[in-house]
């Protein structure tokens, strides 16, 4: 094989990194002798196509990587925050079921703790879902049971058992609610 031709073949191989097939085709054709002009045009066309494909693949991979990094930043804290939610739930329960012996200061203390906890979550983009007087929406709410209430229309929310939470418009926990069905 003349030296010039070999160099050319190496270049072709480099260009066609992702197109093993076409490189094999070329080698096959070369074994048969010098390719004709038409064959070279075909090979060139194939290589151009494979370069375009490789470029598109790379572009897509880059876009995906940017998206992934963005998501990782946005939702990286999700797991930790979700694990912390029961603490908030418990503080809420504590407030709702304070014993008679509890002083005003006890109540205030829990309220302030709850508030500071909520504002910490807010800083990370966690927004509570507390759907009162809203229609049931399975994208954000989870129906726990059905309930009858003549004052409310079918398909609306009766009671909220547990608040839901949303992180950058992703539902990390749906609000647990009862749904009206008369």
């Amino acid at each position: 094989m003349p030296k010039e031709k070999k160099v050319k073949k190496d270049n072709i191989q480099n260009d066609a990194l992702n197109s093993k097939e076409s490189v094999e085709d070329i080698s096959e054709k070369e074994n048969l002798g010098s390719p004709t002009y038409e064959e070279l045009v075909d090979i060139n066309e194939e290589l151009e196509k494979s370069i375009l494909r490789a470029k598109a693949d790379l572009d897509n991979a880059l876009k995906r990587t940017v998206n992934e990094v963005e998501k990782a930043h946005k939702y990286g804290v999700e797991k930790l925050l979700v694990e912390l939610l029961p603490v908030i739930d418990n503080l809420e329960h504590a407030l709702n079921k304070l014993s008679e012996n509890a002083t005003k200061e006890d109540k205030e203390g829990i309220e302030l703790t709850l508030k500071s906890f909520e504002s910490a979550l807010d800083k990370f983009g966690m927004i509570p879902i507390y759907p009162v007087n809203e229609d049931f929406n399975p994208e954000k709410h989870e129906a726990v049971t059905m309930e009858q209430d003549k004052n409310k229309k079918d398909g609306s929310i009766g009671n909220v058992f547990q608040r839901g939470w949303e992180l950058h418009s992703r539902i990390v926990r749906p609000a647990r609610v009862t749904v009206i069905k008369n």
Binding site: E78, A143, M146, V172
Partner: protein, 144 residues
């Protein structure tokens, strides 16, 4: 060049993945989950819900919330598995003209593959959102 996706169509959960380089990658759905519940709901306002939203409204709409549909695919109504299922699930399992087990939801008679296709559609959409292009080919696990 459009990528080929792989879908695991499960009885309770489904999953979609692609091969990136030489590594497989499970794709997260819009809700951030790596698996999607194989639950399909037909609502009063002719909406079809798939996955978590369908699961969340199940108590409000049990007759039209279909799950474990994979077990009915390819079975006749008289099949033992089907009659066992029919006693357990809140939705209606009916006999199609050709003797196959079909389901009824929102007054529509549906073939199990048609219902399972809703899950596949959602998995395809998940993959398309991630890949950024239309997906035209897929490998799907053969129902057990």
């Amino acid at each position: 060049m459009s990528k080929i996706i792989g879908i695991d169509l499960g009885t309770t959960n489904s999953c979609v993945a692609v091969v990136e380089g030489k590594q497989q990658k499970v794709i997260e759905n819009a809700e951030g989950g790596r698996t999607t519940p194989s639950v399909i709901a037909y609502t009063d306002n002719d909406e079809v819900l798939v996955g978590l939203p369908a699961k969340r409204q199940a108590v409000t709409n049990p007759e039209n919330t279909l799950y474990a549909i994979k077990r009915l695919i390819g079975r006749t109504f008289d099949d033992e598995v089907v009659s066992k299922d029919a006693d357990m699930v809140p939705y209606k399992i009916i006999k199609a003209d050709n003797g196959d087990a079909w389901v009824e939801a929102s007054n529509k008679k549906l073939a199990p593959p048609q219902v399972a296709a809703e899950v596949l559609k959602k998995m395809k959409k998940t993959a398309e959102d991630y890949l950024g292009h239309e997906v035209k080919e897929a490998v799907i696990t053969v129902p057990a």
